[in-house]
């Protein structure tokens, strides 16, 4: 084989190799949807809007919905009634617990928001930046379903609907059984 033909063959092989590698690698969008799923939930602990203290450890053994939100984000405002409806319809002893983590928001605005729109679940408002980074939150609203064993079962990017969360919980429970 002549040198030019050899060179062309080498270039072709390298090109095909690169195309296969890049085509089969995980895309950024896919990673966005599945980030943390199947992994141990990162820690959450801090001061709540009512001045108390809340930690992820408090709800070990229960299903938990972690909701990252901001009062200045439209999808977050739109999803709030759905979240409220979901939370209110959960059985007290065995239902899914909800915790909200404010993302780059003013604690006073968050308190006013919950006072106006309702929601009696724990809301972490202060120094929540590190929690958001630990969870890899990119743009709110983002929600995560955490299993009783402390693993992230599902991730929801964008605003949520009550029936969607209920279906998600149902699927996650069946899968874990």
């Amino acid at each position: 084989m002549s040198p030019s033909k050899t060179a062309s063959a080498v270039v072709a092989v390298i090109t095909i190799f690169l195309v296969v590698i890049f085509a089969t690698s995980e895309s950024g969008v896919e990673r966005l949807r599945t980030h943390l799923v199947g992994e141990v939930a990162p820690p959450i602990a801090g001061e709540t809007s009512d001045g108390g203290y809340w930690s992820l450890d408090e709800v070990r053994g229960r299903w938990l919905l972690v909701n990252f939100f901001s009062t200045t984000c439209i999808p977050c405002i739109e999803e709030h009634p759905e979240l409220l409806s979901f939370s209110e319809n959960q059985p007290t002893d065995t239902g899914v617990r909800v915790v909200s983590v404010a993302f780059d928001d003013d604690p006073l605005s968050v308190e006013a928001f919950f006072e106006k729109n309702g929601g009696d679940w724990p809301v972490l408002t202060r120094d929540t930046g590190r929690i958001s980074v630990d969870w890899g939150v990119i743009a709110v609203p983002e929600s995560y379903l955490v299993s009783p064993a402390g693993f992230v079962s599902a991730k929801i990017v964008g605003g949520i609907k009550r029936n969607e969360i209920e279906n998600l919980v149902l699927r996650a429970k069946r899968k874990s059984e």
Binding site: S25, F103, R130, S132, V133
Partner: protein
């Protein structure tokens, strides 16, 4: 005796260029010393996850601010740059790392330019050896002068040198440590800020498309929502326009442009009270010069206050004007309009007070056409001082290009 041949000189030249490049790279890559410099350097080394083409250091979106704060905290806690790098990559993926390590697939980022460089060098050496072989044959046979017809090889060598140096420069610029602003063609992809600037000078339809792109990247971008709403309203899509502008105000209640747009839309739709509320709120925040000019040039505040006075709410009309003069005490037009509102109230005492406002207007701008015309009208109709009125009419006539509405008004009262 000739010790160095020309091709030796070319190799020396290559070595000098390579040596200088290495020395330069070592000199410019001094590590930062303080914690603040480390935070700044690390923030520059990572892309903002939601804003294309901007690093964490360049972006002001919430996620960038949050990550910057986390970096700062980790630096203060004593974490090494490598620890922070690994932490951020584990949380946000390798896509955000401008300096990926050499493991796995990302290693190709480093390997490919090096492999390409070695291959190019190898090819160049082969060509040079090939030419040297030919040269010897020629020397043995027929070549007698240095610059013979075979001297075209020097053109080729020069061309190879230029291409090699240019390629090296381009590889150095595009590979390895690189921030968005360091790219040869500027940013790798357009950031929302760049898109917003583009939209501000684009035709309406194109601007709407650009705002759509911004809102895909940042659904809660108040500026894009407000301006898309405004563009839609200009195009006649009232309902979607209102929805966008309302969303913008929800996202950022202090964003003045959205307030101004809503005020204008409300006024055009006959919602005078709502328009005045937005204008009053607009006075409490810092408006951009563009919005100030838009409202001043269209005499929007004066129009809203006139409508309020016509609807019997003189106090609110005056409050609106006073709020405007408080922010812009040199606006002669507002003082003139204040005088006019007082004069047409039908109250003799207020009419007398109107002259004070008109005098203030003329003190600020002796050629304010509104103050001059209103003076002429008030003196003639309310105080029946025709001589004084005529003086102002004459002054009005001498104005270049007076507003047509004032000309009509004076004509309708028989003063022109």
């Amino acid at each position: 005796m000739k010790i160095f041949k020309t091709h030796h000189l070319i190799w020396v030249l290559f070595l000098i260029v390579a040596g200088l490049s290495l020395a330069f790279s070592v000199v410019v890559e001094n590590p930062p010393l303080t914690n603040s410099e480390r935070v700044s350097s690390l923030a520059s080394d990572f892309a903002c996850p939601v804003c294309d083409g901007q690093s964490l250091a360049e972006s002001d979106v919430p996620v960038a601010k949050t990550i910057r704060a986390a970096i700062s905290k980790m630096v203060d806690e004593g974490s090494s740059d490598e620890d922070i790098r690994k932490f951020l990559v584990s949380k946000f993926g390798e896509d955000i790392d401008y300096n990926p390590d050499g493991d796995g697939l990302t290693g190709l980022v480093w390997v490919i330019p090096v492999a390409a460089g070695i291959a190019a060098l190898f090819g160049t050496v082969l060509i040079l050896f090939s030419w040297m072989g030919k040269e010897k044959k020629i020397e043995k046979s027929e070549r007698k002068f240095f610059f013979t017809p075979n001297s075209s090889k020097w053109i080729w060598i020069s061309l190879v040198c230029v291409v090699a140096i240019g390629s090296g420069f381009l590889v150095a610029k595009t590979a390895g440590s690189r921030n968005s602003g360091d790219a040869i063609s500027g940013e790798i992809r357009l950031s929302p800020r760049t898109l917003l600037i583009q939209a501000s000078v684009a035709p309406r339809e194109e601007a709407i498309e650009i705002y759509d792109q911004v809102l895909e990247l940042q659904p809660s971008n108040a500026e894009a929502l407000a301006y898309r709403g405004w563009m839609l309203w200009l195009g006649g899509d009232s309902s979607k326009s209102i929805s966008d502008i309302e969303s913008s105000i929800t996202v950022d209640p202090t964003y003045p442009d959205a307030r101004a747009f809503r005020a204008i839309i409300n006024f055009r739709e006959g919602k005078i009270l709502e328009a005045s509320e937005d204008l009053l709120l607009l006075d409490s925040v810092n408006s951009s010069p563009v919005i100030k000019d838009l409202l001043a040039s269209s005499r929007f505040r004066e129009s809203v206050s006139s409508e309020l006075a016509r609807n019997g709410d003189l106090l609110l009309a005056l409050e609106l004007i006073d709020s405007g003069t408080k922010n812009d005490p040199q606006n002669s037009s507002l003082f003139a309009h204040r005088g006019w509102l007082l004069a047409i109230s039908g109250d003799q005492q207020l009419a007398e007070l109107s002259l004070i406002s008109l005098d203030v207007s003329l003190e600020i701008n002796p050629e304010d056409p509104y103050a001059i015309a209103y003076k002429a009208l008030i003196e003639a109709i309310i105080f029946e001082k025709m001589n004084s009125s005529e003086k102002y009419v004459e002054q009005f006539k001498s104005l270049p290009n007076p507003p047509s509405e004032l000309v009509e008004l004076l004509r309708s009262e028989g003063l022109l």
